[in-house]
Assembly symmetry: C2
Homo-oligomer: 113 residues x 2
């Protein structure tokens, strides 16, 4: 059994384009209420609450009840773990392509001899 970890929650959270856009909105435009977030995306308050909930569980967003509204801000979580995974994937891919290239070259050298 593979265990679900923080990286799965992070990836699940940012896999949705609306949620990535919400993160960018909060990052560049500053804190916002759920309704302020919902408006430009033309989705319902309930829909936006769900998206924010997923981002909150992934610790990418923190929220605070202020009167009747819920203010959202960017959480402090960095994406270092994900970045490391991508880097190690890229290295693995390059090593594989190198091996494949070397094999092709060996076969070609063999064929022309």
């Amino acid at each position: 059994m593979v265990q679900y970890r923080q990286i799965d929650r992070t990836l699940g959270a940012i896999a949705d384009p609306t949620r990535r856009a919400v993160l960018e909105r909060l990052g560049r435009g500053g804190d916002a209420t759920i309704s302020e977030l919902a408006e430009p995306f033309e989705i319902s308050l309930t829909g936006m609450k769900k998206h924010v909930g997923i981002l909150e569980r992934a610790e990418l967003v923190t929220t605070e009840k202020v009167g009747r509204a819920r203010r959202c801000r960017l959480g402090p979580r960095r994406l270092d773990e994900l970045e490391s995974w991508i880097q190690s994937y890229t290295q693995m891919l390059e090593a594989r392509l190198d091996r494949f290239g070397a094999m092709l070259e060996r076969n070609q050298t063999g064929a022309t001899k």
Copy 2:
């Protein structure tokens, strides 16, 4: 309306720990059939076929029918687009933390005057 793009398929594909493990298995261990992939994960052939299908649609894996088996290998797709998104997110997060720090400092200076 937000448009679904390649980055969404990539993120959706790698958000699952079994699928990330399959990519690592193919990268380090070389090509494998669906049953060879299914065995160490103790999941059904049908389950593994679904995972491989999602990786294939994200172009992270290519498959080829060889006799009665389907051989899987790592696709050539790199994760550059995702890496750029993470880098721009990190820069945005740092800029936000800097602004927050500067604000705290201003408030503190004001309080001690």
